[in-house]
Symmetry: C2
């Protein structure tokens, strides 16, 4: 399951508790991988049971404790193994494309409104991904700084470039979707005359 590997990659940078992880997935990794709290806490327990992470338990008050999780050697090995494994990249579901596939059953103006919404959302995504890639290239995100502390300085530039390049993908894919939606609007707004003229 990918959530486990997403968590392994984060705690590999620095130890975190469930709350921090949940906030991190909301704020940052949510762009690449998202998960609700109700999935994170049980997942951490499972990973602890599996020996992929260890918890340092800190007592808080009378009943609560805070568990700060660190990656274990087994966890690091599992992460390397998973990252090394080529897997099926064929996307199995795309709700946006499914919706567009049936645009012929609604009024063109309605479909155009849906596509305009797509363009606005994807433009916002492209901006925030580009901004994050830029921050990474400047070695300027909190988690990257923590991560680099544990790596030799000669590797720092390379690591930052690898991370930034992932967010470049988000930008490029968002821009591809925008271009596609714009072309879709042209197709939907072309009248029957245009269609015949274009034959």
């Amino acid at each position: 399951m990918s959530l486990a590997h997403a968590i392994l990659g984060v705690v590999e940078a620095r130890p975190m508790n469930g709350y921090e992880l949940a906030r991190f997935f909301d704020a940052h990794a949510g762009w690449v991988w998202s998960a609700p709290r109700s999935q994170i806490y049980p997942q951490l327990r499972n990973m602890e049971d599996a020996g992929l992470i260890t918890a340092e338990r800190q007592v808080r008050g009378e009943r609560l404790e805070r568990r700060v999780y660190s990656i274990t050697a087994a966890g690091a090995a599992e992460l390397r193994e998973w990252v090394s494994t080529p897997f099926d990249t064929r996307s199995k579901r795309d709700a946006l494309l499914l919706q567009a596939l049936y645009f012929d059953v609604v009024d063109p103006t309605v479909a155009v409104a849906v596509l305009r919404n797509v363009i606005d959302e994807q433009a916002a995504i492209a901006r925030s991904w580009a901004s994050h890639a830029d921050q990474l290239r400047r070695h300027n995100t909190p988690l990257l700084k923590e991560r680099l502390k544990r790596r030799p300085p000669t590797e720092h530039e390379r690591i930052a470039r690898i991370k930034a390049h992932v967010f470049d993908a988000g930008t490029a894919l968002a821009q591809a979707r925008i271009a596609w939606a714009e072309e879709g609007i042209r197709i939907l707004t072309a009248g029957p005359d245009d269609a015949i003229a274009a034959e």
Copy 2:
């Protein structure tokens, strides 16, 4: 749920039984939306209970029956409603990007091998999507032919263009991923000298 709407869009073209739908999702719609048999059969029952589709039951042998489902007026209304609704297009999970995010923990040659696999797979996807878009533009797929029988001829060209444009998206996104993976290989194979030289 999107599976229900994927099914509605297919049976809107022509009535089908569960087996045909399962094969269709494997062969064609699987590119946009996939589902195993074990999800399709219960889903059809639910949709029948909800009045979105109706089944014509044909007896086969002593114990089996074949159920051929057609869309109802309520189902067609539900499909139009769903297609008209702008929804959140921010992708919540991308296993490929998650994997690439942690390429720094493995040997570059391993990461490059993963990316080469991505390129091969995405190239195959781009080819088959482009081919399908071409077939649609020629009004040459079985389901499109069925679908057009129920629409006025003046609409045929428009409908074919809308469908084909969805598969253009698949091609464009696959090509964007290929370009991204190729750039990733360049970053991974660049030595420390290159990195310094590029500063």
